[in-house]
């Protein structure tokens, strides 16, 4: 795109073209740049690994393995080291198990009065889902439940009057 074309397509941009970006640099910035880059290269070189380091790493590792004398560990010391923590852990486990089995759950429920259980249920503390009830009473026939008595005809008419029939059909 030539200047003339730019002027035709974008006259405002063409006008601004003679202006600079407005970006500035600190005085003398470029004078020290070569030295900064060279010292950066030297710093990076110092941190670099020696040349050919990875070529010889395998040999050096094997040499180190060969030169290392195997450690002799006494069997008695080894047994004491392993057995002590195991013995402590086993004792704790035994203590917890005994505590758990000492408590007799049946005694607790046998001592409960029927009235106490009723009060607990009436307070709404028995939180059972429909699924839990059906899984316990699998032979119960829920079809015989007389639910229709729970709502009067007036209640049903009032409910049907409140709802938007179109959205009700769509959602059901």
């Amino acid at each position: 795109m030539t200047r003339k074309e730019l002027k035709n397509i974008a006259p405002k941009l063409s006008e601004l073209k003679s202006m600079k970006t407005g970006f500035e640099i600190p005085n003398g910035y470029f004078d020290a740049l070569e030295d900064k880059v060279m010292s950066k290269l030297i710093t990076e070189d110092t941190n670099d690994i020696p040349e050919g380091y990875f070529d010889t790493i395998e040999d050096r590792v094997f040499e180190k393995i060969k030169n290392e004398e195997p450690k002799v560990i006494s069997l008695k010391n080894r047994f004491v080291k392993i057995a002590t923590p195991m013995a402590i852990a086993a004792s704790i486990l035994l203590l917890i198990t005994l505590q758990l089995f000492n408590t007799n759950q049946e005694d607790i429920f046998a001592n409960l009065e029927t009235s106490e259980i009723e009060t607990w249920i009436n307070n709404g503390d028995l939180d059972l889902s429909t699924f839990e009830i059906t899984s316990v009473y699998s032979d119960a026939n829920f079809e015989n439940l007389e639910l229709y008595d729970a709502y009067s005809d007036d209640d049903l008419m009032e409910y049907l009057g409140d709802i938007d029939l179109e959205s009700f059909i769509l959602t059901n």
């Binding site: 397509i9 974008a10 941009l13 202006m19 970006t21 407005g22 500035e24 470029f30 880059v37």
Partner: protein
């Protein structure tokens, strides 16, 4: 042998490398700096990226096969370093690159190394609204008046695609600055 070929030969020779590299930096530091600065916007970031660019050039000069001009090869490294840099910065700030560039343009007036007028600020903000590649094309052509063939080597994009990209960028920016 041209002076560029001589310089490349010296750069590849361990004994003449350092001196040749200083000559190369002297020749290209300002051009590369301004190219980088227009992409990363702040001076401190441009300084960082310029140094990294030269380090990369020094380390990879042996891989330069002369298939493109040395100038294009260096510009490509500078462009890639700048894009990598702003992507990294955007990631650090948990924003995408376009939001990062938009934020850069918005805070430009507080930059001590920016003395542009209001219209220059509007221009920078308008450029920040363009897609990343279009921004690059616009900056290289509008500010640096780079030839399409050189841009094609640097950005590895066909001349036709670059022309179309520049045309769209110009239209969009003109619309934004005219509205102000």
């Amino acid at each position: 042998m041209t002076s560029e070929q001589e310089l490349i030969a010296q750069l590849k020779n361990k004994q003449t490398q350092e001196n040749a590299f200083r000559i190369l930096m002297g020749q290209y530091k300002e051009r590369l700096y301004w190219h980088i600065r227009k992409i990363v916007v702040s001076h401190a970031d441009a300084d960082d990226v310029l140094q990294n660019t030269f380090v990369k050039i020094y380390r990879n000069i042996d891989k330069f096969k002369g298939e493109s001009k040395l100038y294009s090869w260096m510009y490509r490294i500078a462009t890639n370093e700048s894009i990598t840099f702003i992507n990294k910065r955007a990631k650090q700030n948990n924003v995408d690159i376009s939001e990062y560039q938009h934020n850069l343009a918005e805070t430009l007036q507080d930059d001590v190394h920016f003395s542009g007028s209001e219209i220059q600020l509007i221009l920078q903000k308008a450029i920040a609204t363009l897609p990343e590649k279009q921004q690059l094309v616009f900056k290289m052509k509008y500010f640096d008046e780079m030839k399409y063939n050189d841009m094609s080597e640097i950005l590895e994009t066909s001349v036709g695609a670059l022309k179309a990209s520049y045309f769209h960028a110009v239209k969009k920016i003109e619309k934004i600055i005219t509205a102000h």
